[in-house]
C-alpha cells in the first residue's frame, strides 16, 4: 500500500464505491427502484431529490440501517455485504444524519467512544479518546472540546462532533444527509471549507440535499432521484439551478414568484416586550418587539430553537406569557384563549402540522371545519349539519387542489403537501385579519412549496398581516417585505427585504449585534 493511498487519519481511501440496481420496498411504496450510484475518492457526489424521492432510503441501505430487497454494493471492485452500521463502519463508511446522532446527556468524548471497543477492556478509556479527538481536530481544523456535554454545544459545533465521530471511526467515505438544514449561512461556508479539505485529502463524500445552490457550490457530480428512480447523473459543471429543478420535479418550476407592490396599511399585530418560558422552564422569549402591518409579510428568520416556536404559540394563545403585550388590531389579547383569538380572525399555520394543525384520525372534511364546527352554518342546536359540511369541504378540496380520494379520507393518509393544503384551506378561507405561518413549507416538495408561497402572497395582496416564521432563508428573502431576526429570544434587528443579504442575516442569526458598520459593508 503506497503512502498516497492513505488518508491523513491513517486509513485507506475508498477509490470507488458502487451501488448497483438497489431496490427497496416499504408497504405500499417502492422507495428505491433499481438505483445505480457511484462515488470516487476525492469527489463530492451530490444526491438530489425531493422529499420521498428515495435519497435517505438509499443511503440508509449503504449504511446498513435498512436492508435492500435487491441489488449489490461494490467497494474497490469487490462485492461487500452490509447488514448493520458496524459493517459499514468497518468498511470505512461514515454517515452524518439529518437529525444528529448524538446523546445530549453525554460528553463529546463519550459520544465518540459509543459502541467502540476500549483499549482498557471493559473499562472506558475516555482520556485516550479525548487525545485522539484533539489530534483529528488539529488535522482537519475542527474546533471541539472533548469534555463538553453535547447539550452545551451550538448546532454548528454539534455537526463538527459528528464529523469527528465519523473520522474517529476511520471513515474514508462520508455520507452527509441534508447537513446544512440547521446551519446559518456562515456555518454553511465553514462547513464547506471542511468538506473541501477532506475531499482534497482523498475522502469521498456523498452530499444529500434538496438545496440547489448548495449542490452547485460543493459537488463535482450530481445524481437526481425522483419517485424512487434515478433520473440522471451528470457533472455539476454543466448544470444550472433551473435544469436541476426540472429534473427533480419533472416539469418547469417557478423559482421566484413576482411580488407585486402592496401599500401596507395599519399595524394589525403588535407585540411588545414579550417574555415567555420554554417547555423546559428556561426563558425562551426575552423582550420581543414586533409590528406586522396589513398587506405585508414580516419574515422572522433565525436558527431553530431561538424562540420562534414559543413566539408563535404565545401569539396564538397556546402558551402563557410572563410579561408583555400582544395587540391584535389595537386590543390587548395577551392571555386570551385560542378560541377567542379564532373569533378575532387570527389564523395559524403551525410548525407541526401533523400534531398541531389537524386531528389525524379525523376525515379531511372534519378537519376543514375544526375552527368553526360549533357555529352556524356547520352546526345547529348542537347537531352537525353534515350536508353543509360536505359541500364546504368539497368546495375547499377543489379550490385548493387537495389530492385526496374523498372528503371522508382520514387526514393522516394524505401526503405532507396535501395535509398542508388542508390546513391552509381551513385557515385562509375564513378571511383572516392576521396570519401566523410557522415553517409553512418545511418538508414539502417543490410543487407544494410553490403553491403555499403563491397563496401567502395572495393573502398579502388582500391586506392580511402575515408573520412568516421560517428557518429557510431563501423562503424569507423570496416572500418577506421586512425581515426580523430572532436570536436567543430577542430580536437582533429588522431590515427591509431589499436591503437584506444572506450574509448580513446570517450574522444576526449567529447573535452578532446589528451595527451600522456591518450593514454598510454588506450592502455595498
Amino acid at each position: 500500500m503506497s503512502e498516497s493511498e492513505l488518508l491523513p487519519s491513517g486509513r485507506r481511501r475508498i477509490d470507488l464505491l458502487e451501488l448497483k440496481g438497489i431496490v427497496k420496498r416499504f408497504p405500499g411504496v417502492l422507495a428505491n427502484d433499481h438505483i445505480d450510484f457511484e462515488v470516487c475518492s476525492g469527489e463530492v457526489h451530490a444526491l438530489l431529490g425531493e422529499n420521498g424521492a428515495g435519497k435517505s432510503t438509499l443511503m440508509k441501505i449503504l449504511y446498513g440501517l435498512y436492508s435492500p430487497d435487491e441489488g449489490e454494493i461494490w467497494l474497490n471492485g469487490k462485492r461487500v455485504e452490509i447488514h448493520n452500521p458496524t459493517d459499514a463502519i468497518n468498511l470505512g463508511i461514515g454517515m452524518i444524519h439529518q437529525h444528529f446522532m448524538l446523546v445530549e446527556t453525554l460528553t463529546v468524548a463519550e459520544n465518540v467512544a459509543l459502541g467502540l471497543p476500549s483499549s482498557r477492556g471493559p473499562l472506558t478509556d475516555l482520556e485516550r479518546v479525548s487525545k485522539r479527538i484533539l489530534e483529528l481536530a488539529d488535522i482537519y481544523g475542527l474546533d471541539v472540546d472533548p469534555e463538553a456535554y453535547i447539550w452545551q454545544l451550538a448546532v454548528g459545533q454539534r455537526q463538527r462532533v459528528e464529523i469527528i465521530k465519523a473520522l474517529y471511526r476511520g471513515a474514508a467515505l462520508l455520507i452527509l444527509d441534508e447537513p446544512t438544514a440547521v446551519l446559518t449561512p456562515q456555518e454553511v461556508d465553514e462547513f464547506f471549507v471542511t468538506i473541501r479539505q477532506m475531499v482534497e485529502d482523498g475522502h469521498s463524500v456523498i452530499f444529500i440535499s434538496h438545496k440547489l445552490h448548495e449542490v452547485l457550490a460543493i459537488s463535482q457530480r450530481v445524481t437526481v432521484l425522483r419517485d424512487g428512480r434515478r433520473i440522471d447523473s451528470c457533472p455539476t459543471a454543466g448544470c444550472t439551478k433551473a435544469s436541476l429543478a426540472r429534473m427533480m420535479v419533472g416539469r418547469e418550476v417557478i423559482m421566484k414568484h413576482d411580488k407585486p407592490p402592496v401599500d401596507r396599511g395599519e399595524p394589525r399585530l403588535v407585540v411588545q416586550n414579550l417574555h415567555a418560558m420554554s417547555d423546559r422552564g428556561t426563558p425562551a422569549l426575552q423582550g420581543v418587539d414586533l409590528e406586522v402591518y396589513s398587506g405585508e409579510i414580516l419574515g422572522l428568520a433565525g436558527v431553530s430553537g431561538n424562540g420562534q416556536r414559543e413566539l408563535a404559540e404565545v401569539v396564538t394563545g397556546l402558551r402563557p406569557l410572563t410579561e408583555g403585550k400582544v395587540l391584535l388590531e389595537g386590543q390587548d389579547v395577551a392571555g386570551n384563549d385560542p378560541g377567542t383569538l379564532t373569533d378575532r380572525m387570527l389564523a395559524y399555520i403551525p410548525e407541526e402540522r401533523m400534531k398541531d394543525g389537524m386531528v389525524q384520525e379525523f376525515s379531511v372534511a372534519e378537519n376543514t371545519i375544526l375552527r368553526d364546527h360549533h357555529k352556524q352554518p356547520f352546526s345547529r342546536s348542537g347537531l352537525l349539519m353534515l350536508r353543509t359540511i360536505a359541500g364546504y369541504a368539497d368546495d375547499l378540496i377543489r379550490k385548493f387542489q387537495v389530492k385526496t380520494p374523498s372528503r371522508e379520507t382520514p387526514a393522516k393518509s394524505l401526503s405532507g403537501g396535501n395535509i398542508q393544503k388542508v390546513v391552509l384551506a381551513r385557515e385562509i378561507s375564513r378571511g383572516p385579519r392576521v396570519l401566523i405561518a410557522a415553517q409553512p413549507t418545511r418538508g414539502l416538495d417543490i410543487g407544494a412549496m410553490e403553491y403555499v408561497h403563491a397563496r401567502l402572497l395572495e393573502q398579502r395582496e388582500q391586506g392580511t398581516a402575515i408573520l412568516l416564521i421560517s428557518e429557510d432563508l431563501d423562503e424569507i428573502l423570496g416572500l418577506a417585505d421586512r425581515i426580523a431576526v430572532i436570536y436567543e429570544g430577542k430580536i437582533m434587528g429588522v431590515v427591509d427585504a431589499d436591503d437584506a443579504t444572506p450574509e448580513y442575516l446570517g450574522l444576526l442569526m449567529a447573535g452578532v449585534e446589528a451595527e451600522t458598520e456591518l450593514l454598510a459593508q454588506n450592502t455595498c
Partner: protein, 318 residues
C-alpha cells in the same frame, strides 16, 4: 437504652431496605435501557413465593434464591418480549405482569403447601437466612448493626458500588446509558438496542425476584398473602428519587426502610396513633417524594429520566 434503641432502628432499617435496594438497582438498569417495568410488584411476589416454597421442600435457602432469580428473569423476559419485540405499550404490559404475578403468587401460596396444612403455604416455617455476626465489628455501638446482618444484606454493600461503577465507568455502562437516552444514535453507533434492552430488563427482573426472596427468606420468613405490601410500587418511586443513579438507590431504600423501623418502634412502644396511620407512612412519603422530585426535575431537566424511557424502538420506522 438510647444506644440499644438506635442499634435496633438501624438494624431494622437495613433489613427492611435490602429488598428495596435490589429491586431499585434492577429497575434503574431496566429504565436506563429505556424500558419501564411496572411488573416489579408481581415479580417480587413471585420471587418471594417460589423462593420460600423451594427452600421449604429442599431445605436449601441457596436453591430458593436461584429459583427466585430464574422466576424474576422469566417474567421480565415476557415483558421484554412484549415491549421490545412486539413493541407493546410498556405501561400496559407491566401492569399485566403485576396482575398476573400477584394472582399466580397468591394461587401458588394456596397450592404448594403440605397436605397437613391443606396445601397452604401460609403459616409454614421453613429455612431462612440468619444474621451473621462479624467478630469485633458487630460489637461497635450502633454501627455494629451494619455487621450483624444476613448474607443478602452484606451483598447489597457490594452490589451498589459495583452497579454504580459499571454504569459510569465501563463501556457497557456507557452503551446502556446511550440506549436509554437515544436508541437511534446507539443503533447508528453499532450498539445492539434490542439485545441491550432484553439484557437489562431480564437483569432487573432477576434483582426484583431476589428482592422478593429476601422478604420470604430473611426479613419476614415465611409466606403470607401480599407479602411485599406494595414494595414493588415504592421501588418505582425510589428510582425517580435516586434520579436513575444506583449509588443514590441506597439513600431511598434507607429512608423507606427507616420509616418502617421507626414505625415498628413506635407501635412497640405503645402509642395512641392507630397502627393504620403508621402503616400508611411509607406510602404517603412515596407520594411526597414523587411531588418533590417532579418539581425538582422540572428545574434541572438534565439529570432526569432517560429521554427514551417508555418508547419502543424500531430501526425501519420512517
Amino acid at each position: 437504652m438510647i444506644i440499644s434503641l438506635l442499634t435496633s432502628v438501624l438494624s431494622i432499617t437495613l433489613r427492611a431496605g435490602t429488598s428495596l435496594v435490589y429491586a431499585t438497582v434492577g429497575e434503574i438498569y431496566t429504565e436506563r435501557s429505556g424500558i419501564l417495568n411496572l411488573g416489579l410488584e408481581g415479580m417480587m411476589l413471585m420471587g418471594a413465593v417460589t423462593a420460600f416454597a423451594t427452600a421449604y421442600y429442599s431445605g436449601s435457602v441457596g436453591l430458593g434464591l436461584v429459583v427466585a432469580l430464574a422466576v424474576g428473569a422469566m417474567l421480565a423476559a415476557i415483558h421484554a418480549f412484549l415491549t421490545v419485540t412486539m413493541r407493546a405499550n410498556q405501561v400496559v404490559s407491566g401492569l399485566s405482569i403485576t396482575l398476573f404475578g400477584s394472582g399466580l403468587a397468591s394461587f401458588l401460596g394456596q397450592r404448594l403447601g403440605p397436605v397437613s396444612n391443606n396445601y397452604y403455604l401460609v403459616g409454614m416455617v421453613g429455612p431462612k437466612f440468619t444474621p451473621i455476626r462479624i467478630p469485633w465489628l458487630s460489637k461497635i455501638p450502633v454501627l455494629g448493626a451494619l455487621f450483624s446482618q444476613d448474607i443478602l444484606t452484606y451483598l447489597v454493600y457490594l452490589l451498589v458500588p459495583l452497579a454504580w461503577f459499571y454504569l459510569y465507568k465501563t463501556r457497557e455502562g456507557l452503551n446502556l446509558r446511550a440506549v436509554g437516552e437515544n436508541p437511534q444514535t446507539a443503533d447508528a453507533m453499532g450498539i445492539n438496542v434490542t439485545r441491550t434492552r432484553y439484557l437489562y430488563t431480564v437483569f432487573g427482573g432477576m434483582l426484583a425476584g431476589l428482592g422478593g426472596a429476601h422478604l420470604s427468606l430473611a426479613y419476614t420468613p415465611g409466606w403470607t398473602e401480599n407479602l411485599t405490601g406494595g414494595r414493588g410500587w415504592i421501588v418505582i418511586a425510589l428510582v425517580i428519587f435516586a434520579m436513575w443513579n444506583p449509588a443514590r438507590a441506597i439513600l431511598g431504600a434507607i429512608l423507606f426502610g427507616g420509616i418502617n423501623a421507626v414505625q415498628f418502634r413506635i407501635q412497640a412502644a405503645g402509642t395512641t396513633i392507630p397502627a393504620e396511620f403508621l402503616n400508611m407512612l411509607p406510602y404517603l412519603l412515596t407520594i411526597l417524594v414523587l411531588i418533590v422530585m417532579t418539581w425538582w426535575e422540572a428545574l434541572s431537566k438534565r439529570i432526569g429520566a432517560p429521554a427514551a424511557l417508555g418508547n419502543a424502538y424500531m430501526r425501519e420506522d420512517k
